[in-house]
Symmetry: C2
Subunit: 342 residues, 2 copies
């Protein structure tokens, strides 16, 4: 029986439950306005490891372990890990999965990975294919800078449209069946993103490259479900940043959608304070992931938020594609998160 509604959205009639979540962040993130809400804060960029890459992996492992602890279950009770990250060949997720020993599907959606994993994961849980699975992602400022831009040691000046890659991770456990009966948050629908490219080619302007994908997915979701902004307490985007958020509002308005700006919460705009000198805000897989787990899910569980459209946005470029003159395609997947009475 088809669970599809409209062109791009699927209904999750079993309402898979969010059983637990955990967030990990770095020092700069702790210094931001949401610093007190992260579950774990690492002491410095290396977190006791020999390389930034190993440190990034440790963030993801910590988030997954803490998430399982919160759910009161062993890692061996988790049937699947859906995870990815920004590094070439997603080595953070792959090596973390080796150490965690959880069966692993690797994803790549750049900074959209948190909502990509929730989108696929909620379908797998709803379909009866997993009783307990974890969706997770991470990013690290020091690994992203040297892979995508330049070695930190160069001390390059940042352009006004630049964003600051969040050092952080988030992990969410989804469940179905008896395990999920008492979950206070559930996933109701999900909308799969299309890859959208309006021709932005500036690698230091990710917000502009990703905003069209966010606009496209929000518009598709609202059309498929016949909803408006009024039906949501918040529409949470991942890391559009200040410029990208402005462009999203403009693009949605052009599509004839009545945007309620006060409901648009962009994790990239929020995670750092204005005095932290991050220009357009935060970015990276860990931005949406850590903010979802530290700030959004607790409010959904407590009933302060009743229904949230969560969509992380990813820029699907590589340094190679940019050097070859390609513009930057974006993608955004959406999930509807709802409070559920106990």
């Amino acid at each position: 029986m088809s669970k599809r509604i409209g062109a791009r959205t699927v209904e999750l009639p079993g309402r898979p439950g969010i059983l637990a979540w955990a967030s990990v962040a770095g020092q700069k993130e702790q210094d931001g306005p949401y610093g007190a809400q992260f579950d774990v804060v690492i002491p410095d960029e290396l977190n006791g490891e020999q390389s930034f890459e190993a440190a990034e992996r440790s963030l993801l492992e910590t988030a997954v372990k803490r998430c399982a602890q919160h759910a009161g279950c062993a890692l061996s009770d988790v049937q699947m890990l859906l995870a990815g990250d920004l590094l070439n060949q997603i080595i953070s997720a792959g090596f973390a999965a080796r150490n965690l020993e959880i069966p692993f599907y690797g994803l790549y959606g750049a900074c959209s990975t948190m909502s990509e994993s929730l989108s696929i994961g909620s379908m797998l849980a709803d379909g009866g294919f997993a009783d307990r699975l974890i969706c997770a992602t991470c990013s690290h400022f020091c690994t992203a800078e040297r892979q995508y831009r330049a070695p930190l040691e160069l001390g390059n000046q940042r352009t006004p449209t630049a964003q600051w890659t969040v050092t952080g991770a988030g992990a969410v456990m989804l469940g179905a069946g008896p395990a999920a009966r008492h979950a206070q948050v559930s996933v109701a629908q999900t909308t799969c993103g299309k890859v959208i490219d309006l021709g932005i080619a500036d690698q230091n302007n990710m917000g502009a490259a990703m905003a069209p994908a966010a606009a496209d997915t929000i518009a598709a979701h609202l059309q498929d479900t016949r909803r408006t902004f009024e039906d949501f307490d918040l529409v949470v985007t991942g890391d559009l940043g200040r410029l990208g958020r402005d462009l999203l509002i403009e693009l949605l308005t052009q599509k004839g959608i009545a945007v309620r700006e006060e409901k648009l919460f962009d994790c990239g705009c929020e995670i750092f304070g204005p005095q932290q000198d991050t220009h357009c805000g935060g970015s990276g897989c860990g931005c949406a992931a850590s903010m979802l787990c530290a700030h959004i899910l607790p409010q959904l569980a407590g009933g302060k938020l009743r229904r949230v459209l969560f969509l992380a946005t990813g820029a699907l470029l590589s340094p190679t594609s940019s050097m070859q003159g390609e513009s930057i395609p974006g993608v955004a997947h959406a999930v509807v998160l709802e409070h559920r009475e106990a």
Copy 2:
């Protein structure tokens, strides 16, 4: 209702159907023993494009388009594309998805991507989340060499354990419901892979790095389903190559499994002939993908093969992880493909 059987395997009670498939290959692959079976062969490494990366992407696009043609449907009728490749940030799949305009979930499983996409895709189809979706992957000798090893222009000598990255692509359309009623091949079960690392650190010995993951997944599948090699016409692995295939037999035997060697068909051992100087054989996402679509699926559709365990294997390293002294983790996902009477 849980569809799980055993620790790692899920049953697909709706038996999602394989509606169509298509393969694309390069000149060297055409010169191999299966050369006449590929749907499309590109005339040279660039296939009319400006870079090897753009050529790789064109292989994937061609495979997806040809697959939709074989199914008699438009690209706009395909609800999801599950795809990935070997390149950093999976730019082949991401940019192909931009051009194809199909809603896109990006995967990264290295050379395991064909079975990873079929594993996730068959669950999504079985669960009623998509009526028609395409699973696809590709690789290209020239892009992989310069990303993972050295520029081709260096003309480095290859070690005896080296494998040759296949220039090729494969695309498989999965369907459920009325669309799938007449499919001659269906997916019956799938087993999710664990990331396994026995400490191999030689980047020129991928077969040895991946064989333990293949052994682990085969053992898990046989235990979960209480099957033996006798229950399959073939057990098809992706690209273990000659050394990796030998190690797989040894590892399975150590686990107490009665291996029927004549049923072990490794695409990497098969795709090139002994005179083609590829040392241990073929590799790359496109190896298993193109051989599945050119050689295995037609036999399953015709009833010459009745039940096949298909598992592509991936090595989850990056040049960075190897330079940092890490060993090479492997992963393998399995799907059971069955002939269905018309």
